[in-house]
């Protein structure tokens, strides 16, 4: 499939074209030279990116999706479908698989690949059925003693009438409860964008990893900009993206994310397999850290991890405040 280029990636388009032509012609010297040039241009682009452009990378059409990541990370993937109540939501992919020969449960948002697939999967914006399917698999994993791996990649839960009618809020809270109470190791990774409650539904974990351009936010920059300024200008959206401090490195500093995994030059979409394999190494490290811990201790540590978030911000006012 032809590559897609964001406006700030345009300098790479011609280099990629020449590199591909050289590869077809079998000119290895030229390929090597162009690879070096591409890497250096990509590095220069990355270095100058603002928060909003990084979010654009997290939404990049060529960025690896959850299914593709599971295919790279796991073997023996068996998809489990349906919520046993209403339907099956293709915006969420769930199943059983093996990583390094060990079985585990995997759940992720699925944005879709080609345009038709994206529409079918509603761009990864899940309805209640998606969250209830996830919850079913979280519960199953807990009962069977299977570790849980989740991948977050959504702009948010689907804000449509049918979502509300079928209890989207309840379905998200059910995922939060299932992951908080899971008596097995839970590792989550911010693969792409993590928008609000629909993303958090899969991000309650013992370890939260993030790809370098992954993010997790209380509201999308667009939503934030419309609240602050009804007109929602591009400048307002970019400013909101900066203000929200939602990128992986900010989240690491805030303690929300435990590990940031560097992406290939130019972003994960420039070399999806390498990006996912780098993530896989950190996933292995996280599960290894957690493997010897008893279920009860896992849960205590998970609770404690949540309690730590934002704790340094808390204070107790001792003087009665003057109230006008």
């Amino acid at each position: 499939m032809p590559r897609s280029y964001l406006d700030f990636e345009e300098p790479l388009r011609e280099l990629d074209r020449r590199r591909d032509a050289a590869a077809i012609a079998g000119d290895e010297m030229q390929v090597e030279a162009l690879d070096r040039e591409i890497a250096s241009v990509a590095r220069a682009i990355s270095a100058g990116l603002g928060a909003w452009q990084r979010i654009a990378l997290a939404r990049h059409p060529d960025r690896p999706t959850a299914i593709e990541a599971f295919r790279v990370l796991c073997t023996d993937f068996v998809e489990l479908r349906g919520d046993r109540c209403f339907g099956d939501d293709p915006a969420v992919v769930a199943g059983l698989a093996r990583r390094n020969g060990r079985p585990l449960a995997v759940v992720g948002h699925q944005r879709g690949r080609d345009p038709g697939d994206r529409v079918r999967r509603n761009f990864g914006m899940a309805r209640p059925e998606g969250f209830r399917k996830a919850r079913r698999v979280f519960d199953l994993a807990g009962r069977m003693g299977l570790p849980i791996l989740t991948l977050v990649d959504t702009q948010g839960a689907w804000p449509g009438t049918e979502s509300e009618e079928r209890g989207i809020a309840e379905s998200i809270s059910g995922c939060l409860a299932a992951l908080a109470g899971a008596p097995v190791p839970v590792v989550a990774a911010l693969l792409g964008e993590g928008g609000s409650g629909g993303a958090l539904a899969f991000a309650v974990a013992d370890r939260l990893l993030a790809l370098e351009n992954g993010c997790l936010s209380v509201i999308t920059p667009e939503g934030c900009a419309s609240i602050l300024d009804r007109k929602r200008t591009p400048e307002g959206v970019a400013r909101a993206a900066e203000s929200l401090r939602m990128g992986a490195s900010d989240l690491l500093r805030l303690g929300v994310v435990d590990v940031v995994v560097p992406e290939p030059e130019g972003g994960a979409h420039r070399d999806p397999d390498a990006a996912v394999q780098a993530l896989g190494r950190e996933i292995d490290r996280a599960f290894a850290d957690l493997s010897e811990i008893s279920p009860a201790a896992l849960r205590s540590l998970r609770d404690e991890r949540l309690r730590r978030l934002g704790r340094s911000e808390l204070a107790v006012l001792v003087e009665p405040e003057q109230v006008c």
Binding site: E164, I219, I227, R311, L317
Partner: protein
């Protein structure tokens, strides 16, 4: 901001008992206004009449949004309220300003404190409702839209723990626009923190009654507000995850009447009952006595 207000770092002991909440000082329509205008039927009413009816419109039955003081006054047994952690506050982790020249977040918080007389958007404590001891939380929509930041999440999580440790039924009145944008992702994760505490409460077999009041939306709806063992809603309350404006933009249509309202959620199976404010205390008492296996009310 913290040092000038005499803050000290995290200690969090329960405060000494406070005096029972006094009469209402709601600013609706001006502090001294003789009349109030109903936001639903636009009809004017004597403030005193509306207050006598527990802030319910005599013409159309619209349930006005309550202050914390009003809610406590009509809900708890006189003299039983003891507030916990009244001084617990959050910080400004993102150094948030609304716009290049807009107000900073701490200024917004200060204004909300001045307006409500509370330090944060939830007030927690212990009380008795029809003689049943409970752990009680009341969210305050008048405080920055009842939004949940780190301090609100912390107070709610501690309240859930208090309920579990003292085996008091947990009662929370929700009223919130969701997670507090100004504290960013740290606000978002409060949803998980509170739900994790609720999972422990459930495992300890301590009951949780959630009373959804107008409005309960966003991250608060998608966390603690949908985890009650019993879900009670006030008439006409807006309850949902996405805001109506966002949904209308998504589907490019106007929403049907009653959408995301308490009565509709009852039909959709999301709440157990919609209870008129005048009957709420009695209903809560009956529920709490049954759930805590207390004897029936003395006749």
């Amino acid at each position: 901001m913290k040092s000038s207000e005499g803050a000290r770092r995290e200690a969090g002991e329960p405060s000494p008992p406070e005096t029972p909440p006094g009469p209402t000082t709601t600013p609706r329509g001006g502090d001294e206004a003789l009349f109030v205008t109903c936001p639903s039927c636009r009809g004017p009413s004597y403030r005193k009449d509306v207050e006598r009816r527990l802030l319910v419109c005599g013409t159309c039955g619209h349930h006005f949004r309550l202050t914390v003081e009003e809610r406590l006054r009509i809900t708890v047994d006189r003299g039983t309220w003891q507030e916990t952690w009244p001084g617990l506050v959050g910080g400004d982790p993102l150094h948030w300003t609304e716009a290049p020249d807009g107000p900073a977040y701490p200024e917004r918080v200060a204004a909300a404190r001045a307006q409500t007389g509370h330090r944060e958007a939830v007030v927690t404590g212990t009380a008795e409702i029809e003689s049943v001891p409970v752990a009680l939380g009341v969210m305050d929509f008048h405080f920055m839209g009842g939004t949940m930041g780190t301090a609100v999440g912390e107070k709610l999580a501690r309240l859930v723990d208090l309920a579990r440790e003292t085996r008091r039924p947990l009662v929370v009145f929700t009223a919130s626009g969701g997670a507090r944008m100004q504290e960013g992702t740290l606000s978002l994760v409060q949803m998980a923190k509170v739900v994790a505490a609720l999972v422990r409460l459930r495992e300890a077999c301590v009951p949780y009654v959630c009373v959804l009041t107008d409005p309960t939306t966003g991250g608060v709806c998608a966390s603690l507000a949908m985890r009650g063992d019993v879900q009670v809603a006030e008439p006409g309350a807006l309850i949902g995850f996405a805001g109506p404006r966002v949904i209308e933009q998504t589907i490019q249509q106007t929403l049907p009447p009653g959408f995301q309202r308490a009565e509709t959620l009852l039909l959709q199976g999301m709440v157990d009952m919609v209870v008129h404010r005048g009957d709420l205390r009695t209903s809560l008492g009956r529920l709490l006595r049954a759930l805590s296996k207390a004897p029936d009310a003395a006749r």
